[in-house]
């Protein structure tokens, strides 16, 4: 090969192009390569030092949830034809991926009752920040009014982005577990670019989405963009954002057939009203026909995108989450029209059963009394960290430490408990027992966690 190139060595190819001064004159300081079995053992040893939802009874949620991922999702994601192609730049040989995007968009539109969806964005919180950018492009106003009920990661991400594109973020507090209606109406005016809330909110409470949207439009006018970050699984029982006056509905798609993966990759979904179509970020698959009249699919409305519009693009996103979105639409097809609702209703009932039984414990009280669908917040009359440690010792992860996540004083003692279809009544009862003993022990002033373990293994 060197002969064909006309060089005497590979080195020469580099020597002729890269100045000596910027060449690395030593080997990289990295371990040597290993055989496949050794790398496997190394990665397995690392995995063994994580306590996963396979290893303990896990009630963690707060944005990502331990739902059961059906085997067909893995099987399809692992097919070379879906796993290894690049973004479908050549539609004639990418109809599989393009049709999946089209189907995914259809499913998201159905879930949200909104007419347009893109083919996925990175994940939940940055989806909200991108929705904010859409609002800025749409009305070029100066302020976002956001509910304190948004996920703390969403608030943080939105602030980071908004500082970049130069928009002020004003936070509206909660009252009684949901966005304070007065403060909300108060904060919004004709300089408000977008009004943003979560459904259900971070504390698990179901917001009155229709009321919040209406109030926002009333105070900010039609140009204002109402944005909701919604939990797709909750939409099995909750009125869809499209029917609640929401302009743009975005959210975290992990619950839909994606693994936990310690936080990613998953996907963000992004749906909106027709009028925002040409300001959407990311890929959109559209239907068309080929020269022989066959139905086919292409990436469409690309004039929104960076590779065409460059500095005028509606977003800088390029590589997105196609494979995770495939998992999403396969999962939704697996659940099916009825199953999707059945699942929501099962979670609704189990979650309320869990909240009731937990709150019947001494030292455990509901943090709010709003309706909840799949997650709820309680306040412990004990040190949350200590209680969680005791539960962990008994093989139970009782949920997330609210204060650790929000840093809000009013969240001290708060515990956010998530329920999935993998958590049976028996699991919930075990949580109640273990948490009850942990709280009791802590309130007695923290003797050893042994009694908790005994309790748990009973």
């Amino acid at each position: 090969m060197l002969a064909a190139i006309g060089v005497s060595s590979v080195q020469e190819i580099f020597d002729r192009q890269i100045p000596r001064e910027v060449r690395l004159d030593r080997p990289l300081d990295l371990p040597d390569g290993q055989s496949e079995q050794d790398v496997y053992e190394h990665l397995r040893a690392l995995a063994a030092r994580n306590v996963s939802a396979e290893d303990e009874l896990c009630f963690l949620g707060a944005g990502m949830y331990d739902h059961y991922v059906p085997a067909i999702v893995d099987m399809l994601m692992e097919r070379s034809e879906f796993l290894t192609p690049y973004t479908p730049y050549q539609p004639e040989i990418s109809q599989g991926g393009l049709q999946v995007m089209f189907e995914y968009q259809t499913a998201i539109c159905e879930l949200t009752a909104l007419p347009v969806s893109n083919a996925s964005v990175y994940e939940g919180p940055s989806a909200v920040a991108s929705a904010g950018y859409l609002a800025k492009l749409h009305n070029n106003r100066s302020r976002f009014v956001v509910s304190a009920g948004l996920h703390p990661h969403t608030l943080a991400t939105l602030r980071t982005y908004a500082h970049g594109y130069g928009i002020e973020v004003v936070e509206v507090p909660l009252s009684g577990g949901v966005t304070d209606p007065e403060a909300w109406a108060e904060a919004i005016d004709e300089n408000t670019s977008a009004a943003i809330f979560a459904q259900p909110n971070f504390y698990g409470a179901v917001e009155d989405a229709a009321a919040l949207s209406a109030a926002a439009k009333a105070a900010g006018g039609e140009q204002l963009v109402t944005i909701a970050q919604v939990d797709p699984i909750a939409l099995g029982v909750l009125a869809p954002p499209g029917e609640c006056g929401v302009d743009v509905a975005v959210g975290e798609g992990q619950s839909l057939g994606n693994r936990l993966d310690f936080g990613g990759p998953s996907f963000g979904f992004f749906a909106a009203r027709e009028s925002y179509l040409r300001r959407m970020p990311g890929r959109i698959a559209g239907e068309t026909t080929d020269v022989d009249g066959r139905r086919g699919f292409v990436l469409t409305l690309q004039t929104r995108e960076q590779h065409i519009r460059r500095e005028k693009a509606t977003s800088n996103i390029c590589t997105s989450q196609a494979l995770n979105a495939l998992a999403g639409v396969v999962y939704l097809s697996w659940l099916g029209r009825q199953g999707f609702v059945e699942l929501g209703e099962l979670l609704l009932r189990r979650t309320n059963y869990a909240r009731e039984t937990l709150c019947s414990l001494d030292g455990v009280a509901a943090l709010h009394s709003q309706p909840v669908v799949r997650e709820f917040a309680v306040r412990l009359d004990a040190d949350v960290a200590a209680v969680r440690r005791r539960c962990a010792a008994a093989g139970v992860n009782p949920g997330a430490d609210l204060h650790a996540l929000t840093g809000r004083d009013e969240d001290r003692g708060g515990l956010l408990v998530a329920i999935t279809e993998r958590r049976s009544r028996a699991d919930i009862d075990q949580l109640v027992e273990v948490l009850g003993q942990a709280v009791a022990a802590e309130r007695r002033g923290g003797e050893s966690g042994r009694r908790v373990e005994v309790g748990a293994s009973a």
């Binding site: 290993q34 347009v116 990613g264 590589t319 997105s320 989450q321 209703e345």
Partner: protein, 515 residues
């Protein structure tokens, strides 16, 4: 000639089984009441729903999701998958995308429950394996880039770019400066200028010199104290290394701006040359390119960034820290939101980033090791130059000359201008006809400054045999065009669908199945 055969592919619509198969969506299959999912039993009290959720908050109609059985789902998507071309099935020399082989070991280790079912909010003390993996990956990326500090959080390359430009903003603001401009060469990838705008800066284009590098004079003129940053790809999107890089760095730093390295082309220089040593302040990596995270038909990706000391205070949160454990019980890893001197720009997304991608790329780095990474880059560059040489030998470059330079690094850009004039076929036609030959075409019409650009990146995992047949296929395709340009102009003929009406699709967008 064509991918696997020595014959010319058909020059007429062949009406294959896949072409005859109508594109029915999953929503057009199934029947009412059919299902795959069996709901776990209701093991808690069957409370009436309205007692739990007021009607006005309730969904009134189930979404019109498919009603299909598992066998129908499997058959639908397995058949659909056959309408995709993929890297495991053929050569995929898509320039700028580094379509190297994705070892299956990576999928196996990423699927281990200890990784795949680990909740992102698991207490750090009970996620030590994950944090150590991320720490090790940070250290490896730091060593490869020659920059001391790494943040793995960004979800893809362009997300990394956004992080980088926001870091630049924070850096200047911390110094009490507000700068408005970011420089990008006209060879830049579209995400660069798009990012600049999103981050609230104004894009200023820098010209390219005859060697394909940055035009230093133009740079000197435009590099003033209102410039926050210069974003560069090196080797650039022409596959060429800018030998003036040190001078460029000097100019940029002189005006107090930062130098950003778009790492999409890192596959050319791993273990051979490091952005940090070139004077870059901020680098993003595309784990889904250089570090072989499978691309999934458009993601997931992962775009970690590496930065110099002066940028470090502004890094996104959370960060991973390593605490030397008390003697025997090894080091302990933790996630922190604050650290000495921190002035973080905050978060770019939820949780800690695309961990599943970290697992794969870390497995890759452990498999190759230092020598293996260097060997990968050397072979990638060797393959690109060999393919370029073969194309010259076969006379292809007469119609598709190299746009700039003599040699290249990991990829090269040809100009289809002469081909268009001599043979009456455009680069698009060539790309479409290549589909019939069984290849994924190279990147077309990018970079923009090259007329009828064709950007070829073979990567290190392809064999000489594959490069040879691809070169022969291109040569044959040009002969074919010389005989009859219409063959290419009307190509493809053998794909599941043929040329699609993209204009119509955009004029009257149909973006979901009507139900």
């Amino acid at each position: 000639m064509s991918a696997e055969t020595k014959q010319r592919p058909p020059t007429h619509s062949t009406d294959t089984a896949l072409q005859r198969e109508p594109a029915l969506t999953i929503f057009q299959r199934g029947a009412p009441g059919r299902r795959a999912f069996q709901c776990p039993e209701l093991d808690v009290p069957d409370v009436p729903l309205q007692d739990l959720l007021p009607v006005h908050l309730r969904r009134s109609e189930p979404p019109r999701l498919p009603e299909v059985s598992e066998p129908e789902i499997v058959r639908h998507y397995v058949r659909l998958s056959k309408r995709n071309f993929d890297l495991d099935s053929g050569f995929y020399p898509l320039g700028s995308c580094t379509m190297k082989h994705n070892p299956r070991l990576h999928e196996r280790v990423a699927a281990l429950p200890g990784h795949a079912r680990l909740h992102p909010l698991q207490d750090p003390e009970r996620a030590q394996g994950a944090l150590e993996l991320m720490w090790n990956l940070e250290r490896a990326l730091s060593e490869v880039s020659g920059l001391p500090h790494v943040c793995l959080q960004p979800s893809a390359g362009s997300h990394g770019e956004l992080a980088g430009v926001l870091l630049t903003r924070a850096y200047h603001e911390a110094r009490g400066e507000t700068r408005h401009k970011v420089l990008t060469p006209d060879t830049a990838h579209g995400t660069n200028p798009a990012t600049v705008t999103m981050a609230g800066f104004e894009v200023v284009k820098i010209a390219t010199n005859p060697d394909g590098g940055v035009d230093l004079d133009d740079l000197r003129v435009k590099a003033d104290t209102d410039v926050a940053c210069l974003m560069l790809t090196n080797p650039n999107t022409l596959g060429l290394f800018d030998s003036n890089i040190q001078e460029i760095a000097r100019i940029v730093h002189e005006v107090g701006a930062t130098l950003y390295y778009d790492g999409a082309n890192l596959n050319a220089v791993m273990g051979l040359s490091r952005p940090g040593d070139m004077g870059f302040d901020i680098v993003h990596f595309n784990l889904h390119k250089s570090f072989t995270q499978p691309h999934g038909g458009g993601g997931p990706g992962s775009g970690p960034i590496a930065v110099s000391d002066r940028i470090e205070p502004f890094l996104p949160v959370p960060r991973i820290v390593r605490n030397e454990g008390s003697n025997d019980d090894g080091p302990r890893f933790d996630l922190v939101e604050d650290w000495p001197g921190a002035k973080s720009i905050g978060r770019l997304r939820g949780f800690q980033g695309n961990y599943g991608c970290f697992v794969r790329s870390y497995a890759y780095i452990r498999s190759l090791g230092a020598p293996g990474l260097k060997d990968a880059s050397e072979t990638a560059v060797l393959n690109a130059n060999y393919l370029l040489a073969r194309l010259r030998q076969l006379g292809v470059s007469e119609h598709l000359p190299l746009a700039y330079g003599e040699l290249c690094l990991h990829e090269f850009v040809l100009s289809g201008g002469p081909m268009k004039r001599n043979l009456k076929i455009k680069t698009l036609d060539l790309a479409k006809r290549l589909l019939d030959y069984g290849y994924h075409p190279p990147t077309v019409y990018f970079p923009l400054l090259v007329e009828e650009a064709l950007m070829v990146e073979p990567t290190e995992t392809e064999t000489k045999e594959t490069l040879d047949s691809f070169a022969e296929a291109l040569a044959e395709l040009l002969h074919e065009a010389a005989e009859d340009p219409e063959i290419a102009q009307n190509a493809p003929y053998t794909t599941p669908v043929r040329r699609l009406d993209e204009v119509g699709a955009a004029k009257h967008p149909v973006i979901r199945q009507s139900l």
